[in-house]
Symmetry: C2
Subunit: 188 residues, 2 copies
């Protein structure tokens, strides 16, 4: 693993624990065994670290979603796979999800707009999934928008309470959350 990668990992952990504004370049340096100024031999700026972190997170999530919904036309199965990917991603990338949700404000334009755009795209994709199910008579919800937000929130909540060392394995959590999502749209 290159030094650049180690720096990004350290930055992620610190941003999650202390926040972007609450993290100093000296701390990030210390986490990888060098001094603050030496970081600039590897990264352009502190802001750059955040930008890259947030855009790659959203890109990864979008890519996983696309792969998940490809290969079947059945609305129930499509939603099941999308939720599986969504929850699994949030279980595996809790810190990225937390930083992504709470540090949007620290992102400077135009990157803020870019990331917000990707997030809106992800939300639309989920909403469309719910709408397809409703149109096919498989889901029964008064508002597809509200239902899709609810499903997204289920997964994003993991950032707060999920722990790998916890009593529930990743697969158990993923399975139950998927079940919750299907019940929620009235397909359970």
């Amino acid at each position: 693993m290159g030094t650049g990668t180690a720096i990004r990992v350290a930055a992620l952990g610190l941003f999650a624990a202390r926040g972007y504004e609450g993290t100093t370049m000296a701390e990030i340096g210390a986490a990888v065994g060098i001094r603050g100024p030496s970081l600039y031999k590897h990264v352009a700026s502190k802001q750059d670290l955040l930008v890259e972190l947030m855009t790659t997170t959203m890109d990864g999530l979008l890519e996983l979603h696309r792969r998940a919904v490809t290969g079947t036309d059945d609305p129930v199965e499509r939603l099941r796979r999308a939720v599986d990917a969504h929850v699994r991603f949030h279980a595996r990338h809790r810190m990225e999800a937390f930083v992504g949700a709470s540090e949007m404000r620290s992102l400077v334009e135009p990157h803020r707009g870019t990331v917000l755009g990707k997030r809106a795209e992800y939300e639309r994709a989920f909403r469309r999934l719910v709408e397809e199910g409703v149109a096919a008579g498989r889901f029964h919800v008064p508002s597809a928008r509200l239902a899709s937000y609810a499903i997204l929130d289920l997964g994003m909540g993991l950032a707060t309470w999920y722990r790998e060392e916890g009593e529930l394995s990743e697969n158990e959590v993923v399975w139950q959350q998927t079940e919750f999502a299907l019940r929620l749209v009235g397909a359970g």
Copy 2:
């Protein structure tokens, strides 16, 4: 409205928008028409502003929950009322909820521990509600813990996407989210 209250309101808005570390005392002052140092005639410190904000938020939420579940023994009705209070609170206090979730790290001990304790108490109360329903054969979930987290996440998500000016009224959102919660625990 006293100056002290105006300061707290301004601080809440700024903490939500820019984060605790990203907000300066001069900005809080400017929001109420005075200079930064003058704030110290009304508040003890910046940290104090955050402490008070977070503890009163949790106290308010706990009190609302207690009132909601008092007066009936029916597990379904108890959960319905608790979710109603939970969602309504988060719709009305979006900024408090957002700050409460993302600025726990900026809280200094012993206040951090106190607030975490209150949050844990709130989570336990909800879990107990689910467990009661399961014990009474009215709810059907594999894990009460996971189900209660899911319900809590439903409401907390509002902090991100709910807007008063949106197309859905508070009552509509509250009603649908309550419905989602009941479906989720298999009581719909």
